[in-house]
């Protein structure tokens, strides 16, 4: 086997790892969509906001510092302490739960029964709001998020795979962070599936996803379930935000991962958790391989921006509900 082939394999492996991260974001979409029929465009901004909150809490930053300074002419910036990572994570989860409760209470409770497109628009509004709010609260400069995840290439894999490709090949380069992300994603998915299958709240959640009115009539509180689902999505957003934030810094572009997750959803189906995972892996591998084999040599590169969408589009023409989505039945 030539070295080129092994570089292709390396691209494939890295694509798998990127796909895991896409799947993490897509998972948050699926959770909310299944339970409430809301297509939550704000998921990416939620990830940004969660990561921003975590990074700022660790640094002990004063919320709304810039606003306070501009209004009262003061010069405050931080409290002067650093919060331990674990405590900061707990606090961030608290913030996301409070956020979920507020969103449910102030916005989506008033929109029950509206057309899906109206709900979708509302989440775009929410995305704008949250983006501005996060910047107001914590400032818009790029933050580094260091919570002790190892970074850089994994030496062990590199050394133990170098013999495969002969003299031109130096082993697979795989980022430690990606490996951690893949493990975390696996644990998270297993946890979510177990929660949905075996816990009381999880069962109620699935009942609501199945049929709102039937769930109401057996005494399930829709309000509670929706807050729960938004909290879970907030938690998933936190995890995704931490992974992406540790990779490339906590900044605005983090919120654009929502756009990466959309084709994943189309491919996997909006209503399926396994679909989000498989779709994420396919998109991750597909776009990396396409860029490596076709995009960079022949098309001038940067095909990753649209490749996923075009694949999803072509795919949907043949299977409109995605790989694992519920079959769309139309009645007149």
């Amino acid at each position: 086997m030539s070295a080129d082939f092994y570089y292709g394999v390396e691209v494939f492996l890295n694509g798998l790892m990127a796909g895991v991260l896409y799947a993490l974001v897509a998972l948050g979409f699926v959770l909310i969509y299944k339970a409430s029929g809301i297509f939550n465009y704000a998921q990416g901004v939620m990830a940004l906001f969660a990561a921003l909150t975590l990074a700022s809490i660790i640094e002990g930053q004063v919320p709304f510092a810039r606003l306070i300074n501009a209004t009262f002419g003061t010069e405050i910036h931080d409290f002067g302490w650093r919060v331990p990572v674990l405590l900061a994570i707990v606090l961030s989860i608290g913030v996301m739960v409070a956020f979920a409760w507020l969103v449910q209470r102030l916005v989506f409770r008033h929109l029950v029964g509206q057309a899906p497109i109206i709900l979708f628009m509302a989440t775009i509004g929410l995305a704008y709001f949250l983006e501005g709010f996060g910047d107001l609260m914590w400032g818009s400069e790029i933050k580094t998020l260091d919570i002790g995840i190892p970074q850089g290439g994994n030496r062990w894999i590199e050394e133990h795979s170098a013999f495969l490709g002969g003299d031109d090949f130096y082993g697979f380069f795989i980022d430690n962070l990606d490996i951690v992300a893949a493990l975390v994603a696996a644990v998270l998915v297993a946890g979510l599936v177990a929660f949905a299958q075996y816990s009381k709240q999880g069962r109620a959640m699935r009942a609501v996803a199945d049929d709102h009115q039937a769930a109401l009539s057996v005494g399930i509180s829709l309000d509670f379930i929706w807050v729960l689902v938004w909290s879970l999505a907030g938690f998933v957003a936190l995890v995704a935000g931490v992974m992406w934030g540790a990779k490339s810094g906590v900044q605005f572009s983090l919120s654009l991962i929502a756009l990466k997750a959309l084709p994943v959803l189309m491919l996997g189906g909006f209503t399926s958790i396994p679909g989000a995972i498989v779709g994420g892996l396919i998109i991750g591998v597909g776009e990396k391989l396409f860029e490596y084999l076709v995009g960079a040599p022949y098309l001038g590169g940067a095909t990753e921006n649209w490749f996923a969408y075009v694949v999803a589009l072509l795919f949907l023409v043949f299977r409109p509900q995605g790989l694992f989505g519920e079959k769309i039945i139309e009645r007149v």
Partner: protein, 358 residues
């Protein structure tokens, strides 16, 4: 007292189908047109034109276009920015390839090119519906922006990757390029807006518009009563893209003058136009204008209040702007999901019955 008709005495379909059945409305419409055509060109200045009037007029065309697709035909599109880019780049290529042809003709041709591209990207709508379609139109957005970035032929191999509008004249008056007087740019845009609104209004109340609305309300049922979904959906995409393309061409040639595709026609633009349509009111021509006016003036007002009045730094005001726009969108959707046009309609109904509402 004067805002009503004296009973319902219509004797012809023509009278029944009037756009402005109430005489007051009709005169108001003429008055608005007269002010727009005869007064504003004489009082316009650079700031007014560039901050408010030009973007308002151009976004109105784009919003009318998207409203035809989303509000009348029910196909949600997030590719508006990409289609505007098609309009801008085809106008640029035409302007540089045929310098002797009038620029107004180029703008219209750019619209037709965009219509063809839009119809091609509309093809999947025959199979894909709802959200899946909305996300699928994002493919158009990303692919087109990438294309205009990567293929140097589109920007005539210029080193910066930008396109710059060369100076072109209409009746001897420059309308593009650096020497354009604000009133000339304004009049060109106003002309396109007036024609676009008239065409859109008359298309949507005719056969084509009714087909679109039938498709929007339920496409299977529409098919059963004899509406061909292929022609209805594709014509909606084509007509909508035509307007969006014209808007993109004007946005580039007359308003900005120089354009970098990712910056001017990115995904944010798609959302902005969609917001205009939603806030203004889906399925309403007036709503397109209202939404465009609202979202164009809001940042200007916020900047006036925040920077000039309160003395905050600009970045803080920019964050506030996001918060306020987001909150307003949610508020509007909760209070009135059918947008400003519906508020307007309700106000008119109330006025008609006033002072005896029962």
């Amino acid at each position: 007292m004067f805002y009503r008709e004296a009973g319902d005495f219509k004797t012809s379909y023509k009278a029944d189908n009037q756009t402005f059945p109430i005489r007051f409305d009709r005169y108001r419409f003429y008055a608005v047109l007269a002010v727009a055509w005869l007064v504003i060109p004489f009082v316009i200045n650079d700031y007014l034109a560039n901050a408010i009037l030009l973007p308002f007029l151009i976004y109105s065309i784009a919003a009318i276009g998207l409203n035809i697709l989303t509000g009348f035909a029910g196909q949600v599109s997030l590719g508006t920015g990409g289609f505007m880019a098609v309009g801008a780049y085809s106008a640029y290529k035409l302007m540089t390839a045929f310098p002797d042809v009038n620029v107004l003709i180029h703008v219209v041709l750019a619209g037709f090119i965009t219509a063809a591209v839009g119809a091609a990207f509309g093809l999947p709508s025959l199979r894909i519906k709802g959200f899946y379609l909305a996300v699928a139109t994002l493919a158009a957005q990303f692919f087109l922006v990438w294309l205009f970035n990567k293929v140097a032929w589109f920007y005539n191999y210029s080193a910066s990757g930008q396109i710059n509008a060369p100076e072109r004249t209409v009746l001897g008056v420059p309308v593009t390029g650096a020497n354009t007087a604000p009133w000339a740019a304004y009049l060109v845009c106003l002309g396109f807006v007036t024609v676009a609104a008239l065409i859109a209004r008359n298309l949507t109340r005719g056969t084509l518009g009714r087909k679109w609305m039938a498709i929007r309300d339920m496409d299977i049922a529409a098919e059963i009563i004899g509406v061909n979904p292929l022609t209805a959906k594709l014509s909606a995409f084509a007509v909508s893209s035509f307007f969006v393309g014209v808007a993109g061409a004007l946005f580039f040639a007359i308003y900005l003058g120089a354009v970098e595709v990712g910056e001017a026609f990115g995904i944010q633009k798609s959302f902005l136009v969609l917001f205009m349509v939603i806030i203004g009111g889906l399925g309403s021509i007036f709503g397109s204008f209202a939404g465009a006016a609202f979202l164009v003036t809001l940042p200007v007002v916020l900047k006036l209040v925040g920077v000039d009045l309160l003395g905050w730094p600009t970045d803080l005001v920019a964050h506030f702007q996001l918060v306020i726009i987001g909150a307003l969108i949610m508020f509007f959707l909760i209070a009135e999901p059918h947008g400003l046009a519906q508020l307007w309609r309700v106000a008119k109904e109330k006025l008609r019955l006033w002072p005896f509402p029962h």
